[in-house]
Every structure is written in C-alpha cells, then in structure tokens.
C-alpha cells in the first residue's frame, strides 16, 4: 500500500514537472520575441523591454530561465502581472476561495444527483431509465454556458430568485450567488457521472456473483448494497474523480458567464489580455489540481479494491 501511494505520488509529481516544462516552454513556441509577448503584446519603451528581459532572465539559456521560474513558483513568488501590475500571488489568493467554493458546491451537486440518478436508472425499471436517459442526453449536450444562459433567463430575469452577477459577501450570500454558476457548471458532468453510474450498476447487476448472491437468498436491498453498489463503486469513483478534477477547467466558463470573480475568469481575462505570466501560473495550478484529485481517487480506489494494488498503473 505504501509503495502504491509512493508510486502514484511519484508519478503525479513527475507529470506536474513535465506539465510545468510544457507550459513554460509554450512561450517559446509562440511567434515573436518572448519579451514582447510577456509585455502583453503592447508597445513598450526599450527600457521597459530591457527590464522585462532582466526580470525573466530572457538572455539566459532555456533551462536556467525555467529554473528561475520554477524557483519563484516554489518559493511563493511566481512574478507580477504585466498588465495588472499586481503580484500573481495577490491575484490568486483573492480569488481562490471563490473558485474552491464553486468547485466544491458543484462537486456535491454532481456526486449526489449524478450517482443517485445513475443508480436509479440502472436498478429501477424501464420507465425511470428511459426518462433519465433523455434528461442526461440533453444535459450532456448542453455546454455550461448554454445552461448559464437558460438559468439566467429563467431564474434571474424571469423569476428573480438568484442574482445574475458577482460572487457575494459572507458564506450564505456567496452560496446564494454561486448557486446558478454551480448548477450551470454541474449539468454536463452530472449527466456523465449519471450515465457511467448506470452502466456500472447494470454491469454488476448482470455479473455472476450477483446472481450467486441472489441464489443464496439474500434480500434485494442487501444484494444491491453489498454486491452491486459496493462493486460498482471503484469505477464510479474513478470517473467522478476525473469529473471533479475537470471542474477546475470548467470554472472558466461558469465564472465568466456569471461574472464571478474567480480563478477561471481570471484565466480567461488574462488570456484575452495575453497576460502570460498569470496564464502560465494558473494553467499549471489547474493542471496540478486535476492531477492531485486524480491521484487521491486512485489511492481511494485501491483501498476499495485491493486487486488494483497488484496491477500495473494503466
């Protein structure tokens, strides 16, 4: 088990490391001078240009520059936004809470509704299954921003139940403000989790060991709980993990659509301003968040199904 965790952790760190090189190196794939790109594509004086070159060590070899950048990241000083003239840490720390809350909110919605509806669709009769399939098909096809538009139209302008804009103050108000964004963000992911849950529950229901459990006279609910759901849990968890990890990326759309000031909207706005210093740090942060969540799910899954411990990482 310890070895398994160590291997997963090592793999995760290695992937983050490679990702950081890719993200940092992408700057050099861009056409033009990195300094002028870092300046945000704006016309700047030669003096400013020189300052940028010095600050980012642009005259050093690639790996030295990367070393400086990584060193800065690890010591908590990833640089200063070229456009906003604010330290990246300040920009992030003032928004990370909102995004975390939004992701957590959406995760709860996704996991609870997704898994419950999936189990229902898998284990209940044809009518329930058919109805849920229609709903999930449409939800899966509706991008978060489409859901956002509809939610704004219905709940904000027609019914005026929820605010259309902003992140709110204090926990209750923030939850109130984040409800529509969280719902918009959840839709497609929720449908996906529901679909997978349904498939897995179906597969387990058809498994021989479930037939055997039934043949042994165990009550229906006990079979469902101890044999079907218990065995379907690892794959459902794996997919849920990837989904929740993917939410960090989805926040870009949901926050932008609802004018919520979080990391996602910061990423979008910085990208639009070509504020690369911020974009690089945020991309790496989102990728790292994705990988960490994924790793935690892998470990949790190995606890649920020890057969995974002996398998090669696939």
């Amino acid at each position: 088990m310890i070895w398994f965790v160590a291997r997963k952790l090592g793999g995760m760190l290695a992937t983050v490391a490679v990702a950081s090189v890719v993200i940092f190196g992408a700057l050099y794939l861009a056409p033009g001078d990195p300094a002028s790109i870092l300046a945000g594509g704006h016309e700047v004086t030669p003096a400013t240009m020189a300052a940028i070159r010095a600050q980012y060590h642009l005259d050093d070899p690639f790996w030295v520059q990367y070393g400086h950048w990584l060193g800065g990241l690890l010591t908590g000083d990833p640089g200063t936004s070229m456009v906003l003239k604010e330290p990246v840490t300040t920009l992030i720390s003032s928004r990370i809470g909102t995004t975390a809350l939004l992701v957590a909110y959406a995760s709860v919605v996704i996991l609870v509704i997704g898994v419950v509806s999936g189990v229902l669709a898998g284990a209940a009769g044809k009518v329930v299954d058919g109805a849920l399939t229609v709903v999930t098909t449409i939800l899966m096809a509706a991008p978060a921003f489409v859901a956002a538009i509809l939610l704004i139209w219905i709940f904000a302008t027609k019914l005026s139940w929820f605010p259309v804009f902003g992140s709110g103050e204090g926990f209750g108000d923030r939850i109130h403000h984040l409800t529509l964004p969280a719902l918009a963000l959840s839709g497609g992911y929720l449908a996906y989790v529901s679909r997978i849950t349904r498939t897995e529950v179906r597969a387990e229901l058809a498994a021989d060991h479930v037939a055997a459990a039934r043949a042994r006279g165990l009550p229906r609910l006990a079979v469902l709980r101890r044999h079907v759901l218990r065995n379907a849990a690892p794959p459902i968890l794996a997919v849920s993990g990837v989904t929740v990890a993917g939410l960090f990326a989805g926040t870009a759309v949901a926050e932008q659509a609802f004018g919520v000031s979080g990391l996602g909207s910061l990423l979008v706005q910085s990208a639009a301003r070509q504020d690369l210093v911020v974009v690089q740090v945020l991309s790496l942060l989102l990728v790292a968040a994705f990988l960490v969540v994924n790793m935690l799910v892998d470990v949790l899954n190995a606890v649920l199904d020890p057969r995974l411990l002996t398998e090669r990482t696939a």
Binding site: G11, T15, V18, A19, V22, I23, A26, L27, L29, A30, P31, I37, T137, I138, M140, A141, A142, P143, A144, F145, V146, I149, L150, I152, W153, T157, V164, G188, Y192, R195, I196, T199, G246, F248, A249, G250, A252, V253, Q256, A257, L267, V268, S270, A271, A272, Q274, D275, L276, V279, Q280, S283, L286, V287, F290, L291, N294, A314
Partner: protein
C-alpha cells in the same frame, strides 16, 4: 434514425449555407432590431437587425468545421499511437501511456485558453489545442481495444502464419477497430463542439464579424437582460440539438459495435 436525419440535415445546411440563406447574414438593419418571428424573419433578428436564421446557417459552417478537424486530427493521431503502442508493447507502450497521462492532465479548455493566450484568439489556435487535448481521450479507448484485440488468438494465428506486423495491423487489426473509432469520433465530435463553442463564448475563438453559434450566444447575452433572449437561445438550441443528434447516433452505433460513453 431521427438523430441520423438531424445530423445529415445540419451538415447539409452548413455545406449549402452560402447559397440558401434567406438574407445576407451580415446585413445590418438597425430599424428592424429584435424583430419578432415573421415570414420574412422566421427566427427574428438580433440587436443590429440581422436575420437570425441566416446567421445560424452561416454560423453552422465554422461550428461544424472546427469539431470535424479536431475529431479527424485527434482520431488519426490517437489511433496511430494506440495501435503502435498496443502492437509493440514494452517500453514503447509504457512511454506512450505516460505521454497520454500527461496530455490527459491538460483539460481541453485550459489548453485551448493557454494556447489562445500565447498565439492570440482565433479559429486555429483553439482547434489545434483541442485536437491535442482529444488525443488521449481517443487513444486510451483505442489502445485498450487494440490490446484486447491483439491478444486474441486470431492475431496470434496470423503471426504464426508469418504475416508482417504491417499486414496484420492494416488488414486485420484496424478494420476490426474501425467501428469503435467511429463511435469515439461521434462522441468526440459532440464534446469538441461544446468546447469550441465555449471558447467562442469566452471570446477567445472566432472573432467578429465572423460568427459561429458560441459567439452568437455570447453576443446575445446582454440582450437577455433587455428581454430579448432569442439570439442566445436559438444558437444554444442549435448547439444542443446538433450535439444530441451526434451523441445519439454514437450511442446507437455503440450498441451495435461496443464502446460508447466511456
């Protein structure tokens, strides 16, 4: 069946758009802004009085072309990687799997936004980024299938017969994987459409005056608060119907050939 008809219709509309749009999709008519549904403007007009039906039809071209390129590029690269990895196995397979893990860690949207930040907004950058981001999605499924297939005795029988790896892969392995690839491509098409529309919505994709459905939804957003949701909603419905149609077709195919939303 109905879903397949919708798919064909949407594709036809997109192909024929330049010849069959009832109005010039870019013709501004401020006096006729937010026109109600009439015979002349069956779907109304937008804030500048442009005919929405014509704009939807014109927008269909780029809205469909993007996902198509993504799916073709990612499908080709993903399948090639998957089949070679499964065929050679060993360290090569391990290396490919690692590479896919790393790529997989970049959600399509984040990658597209980052690339757009570096190369500038537009049609090309997000499409290239998404093609890259979709490679692991397709390659993982195809690799698992190729591995399963490769270990079947009929492939071993061909090896014992002395056929070359090329012959076996091209004549037997790939044709047997083709149905699964079609399913994956159809599913991927839906996802790519959603992602590209999202990018347009965020203003990092296609730039005005060119237009696709994502951009139409974004441009229509201010009008919603003014009480004229038609542009956003119509474009949104277009996206949803198209994605649903492709997904349903993919699922029907998956029921016949295996694969599916996984």
């Amino acid at each position: 069946m109905a879903a397949a008809v919708v798919c064909v219709l949407v594709v036809l509309l997109a192909l024929l758009a330049p010849w069959i749009t009832p109005h010039d999709p870019t013709a501004v008519d401020p006096l006729n802004a937010y026109a109600p549904f009439t015979g002349d403007h069956p779907l109304g007009t937008d804030d500048l009085g442009r005919d929405l039906l014509s704009r939807l039809m014109a927008g269909a071209r780029t809205s469909l072309a993007g996902p198509l390129i993504v799916v073709l590029a990612a499908g080709t690269a993903g399948t090639a990687l998957a089949v070679t990895a499964a065929w050679f196995g060993g360290w090569f397979d391990a290396a490919v799997s690692r590479l896919l893990d790393i790529l997989f860690a970049f959600p399509g949207l984040v990658l597209a936004i980052t690339v757009a930040a570096i190369f500038g907004a537009g049609f090309t950058a997000p499409v290239v980024a998404l093609s890259l981001a979709f490679v692991p999605m397709i390659a993982r499924v195809m690799r698992a299938a190729a591995l399963r297939e490769r270990n079947l005795p009929y492939i071993e029988a061909l090896r014992v017969q002395g056929f070359s790896g090329w012959h076996i892969c091209l004549r037997h392995l790939l044709p047997n994987l083709a149905p699964l690839l079609v399913v994956q491509a159809a599913i991927g098409f839906g996802y790519a459409m959603i992602d590209l529309a999202s990018i347009s919505f965020l203003g990092l994709g296609l730039q005005p005056p060119a237009s696709d459905w994502g951009l139409m939804i974004a441009n229509g957003q201010p009008s919603i608060l003014a009480g004229f949701p038609q542009q956003s909603i119509e474009a949104a419905v277009a996206v949803v119907i198209t994605v649903v149609a492709f997904t349903v077709v993919a699922e029907r195919l998956a029921e016949r050939f295996g694969g599916g939303v996984r």
